[in-house]
């Protein structure tokens, strides 16, 4: 079912289970795909939705909605439900579901309360809408699980996406560049700069493809990788300039407070925590013991950046 997709074995097992169950029950539970951007939530869901066949034997269409553009119940029912969903067999995919408006979240609380039967009626203004969950599947995705209204979260079955491992990223890159021959170890080096993110891996593969095309070559060795990194400014571990800047501040000034880092960088405390510290802490490049400190690994990475000049 997911042969074309790499990684996320747990997600594959879960979705296969729900797909098999659908063949017997015609119902898909209300799923919530949770994970950072670029982990493949939409791609996995597309594959899953293809396995849900409608009464006519065709794959169930999937309507992908940007939740932040739905401002209220009126927009959902008038622009989406009445013209597209009603009387059709369809999967509704609410991307970035944490951005759903409050009144629609309340409506979904009522609509998704289907313990006894897969049917639900919902009254809105002078209308009564029929939700037949043998025909409509409702699936949600979020990058910010903590922002989702807890009672709605409780109604949903959560599937957690994890960062990709280096060998999985290598496979993704290699799979996109079938005609390119890589020197041993290069794929792993490339993978280490994608931050465990499948979308970054696809983007990196595209960059390598462009490089090979412009150099009229199908060989991608360490020398080529070094040149491409220099051209595009790809840092070790895929670090951003902001993250490097934070490491430099900690290396130069020693243990520092968040306030100091904010003052030096000119960024807000929240932005530093969210956009720089999170990944630095994940990779063990800095530590927080009351104040912020650069770790041994962080110092080594900083030396590498200075030595290579990119």
């Amino acid at each position: 079912m997911f042969d074309s997709l790499i990684g996320q074995p747990e997600i594959k097992r879960q979705l296969e289970f729900y797909s098999d169950a659908y063949k017997k029950t015609s119902v898909v539970p209300f799923l919530l795909l949770n994970g950072a951007k670029g982990l493949g939530k939409t791609e996995f869901l597309k594959q899953f939705s293809k396995t849900l066949t409608n009464e006519d034997g065709k794959p169930r269409p999937m309507l992908e909605l940007n939740s932040s553009t739905i401002k209220n119940n009126q927009m959902f029912f008038e622009q989406i439900f009445m013209p597209i969903v009603q009387n059709n067999e369809i999967t509704l995919f609410f991307d970035e579901a944490h951005a759903l408006p409050k009144d629609l979240v309340m409506a979904f609380l009522s609509i998704t309360n289907t313990e006894r039967t897969p049917f639900k009626e919902f009254n809105w203004r002078e209308y009564t809408f029929q939700f037949d969950f043998t025909k409509i599947s409702m699936i949600f995705a979020t990058t910010e699980l903590d922002k989702l209204f807890p009672p709605l979260k409780d109604r949903l079955t959560i599937l957690d996406f994890k960062p990709y491992k280096v060998d999985e990223i290598s496979q993704i890159v290699k799979g996109r560049l079938k005609g390119v021959e890589f020197e041993e170890g290069v794929l792993e080096e490339i993978a280490s700069t994608t931050r465990g993110n499948a979308r970054s891996a696809v983007k990196r593969a595209k960059e390598i493809e462009t490089y090979c095309e412009t150099h009229n070559s199908t060989l991608f060795f360490k020398e080529e990788w070094k040149e491409l990194r220099q051209i595009l400014g790809i840092k070790p571990l895929g670090l951003t300039n902001t993250e490097i800047q934070v490491l430099e501040i900690l290396a130069e000034r020693g243990p520092s407070t968040l306030q100091t880092i904010a003052a030096v960088t000119g960024m807000s405390r929240t932005a530093i925590q969210r956009d720089a510290e999170l990944y630095l802490l994940q990779r063990g490049l800095m530590k927080i013991n009351g104040t912020r400190e650069i770790s041994r690994a962080g110092t080594l990475i900083l030396d590498e950046v200075k030595e290579k000049g990119f």
Binding site: K46, S49, K50, K58, P59, P61, M62, L63, E64, L65, N66, T69, I70, K71, M75, F76, Q79, I80, I84
Partner: protein, 91 residues
């Protein structure tokens, strides 16, 4: 005291320069034959309501004032669209 007088005098000086002086107006008397050199019979020319009333004895009823509401908020709401993409999976 002197200051008050000076201030009052200044106000009077200012007041004299304000508004339309008594007896003056913005119109001139022109003979119709001279105007017809410049205008066709279909030309529309503005005349004062007072002139119409006093000369022709015609009184034009006041038009009801049309209130146009500044309804920009609802226009913006009307224009808002939900962003979506349909995947049909048809080869």
């Amino acid at each position: 005291m002197e200051n008050n007088i000076a201030s009052s005098a200044a106000n009077e000086t200012l007041k004299r320069g304000r508004g339309r002086p008594s007896g003056s107006n913005s119109f001139e008397h022109v003979q119709i034959k001279h105007l017809l050199n410049f205008l066709s019979e279909e030309a529309s020319i503005p005349v004062s309501k007072l002139w119409m009333r006093d000369t022709l004895g015609v009184v034009i009823a006041a038009r009801p004032i049309q209130v146009i509401q500044n309804d920009t908020t609802s226009n913006e709401e009307k224009e808002e669209k939900v962003q979506f993409a349909m995947n049909t999976f048809e080869e």
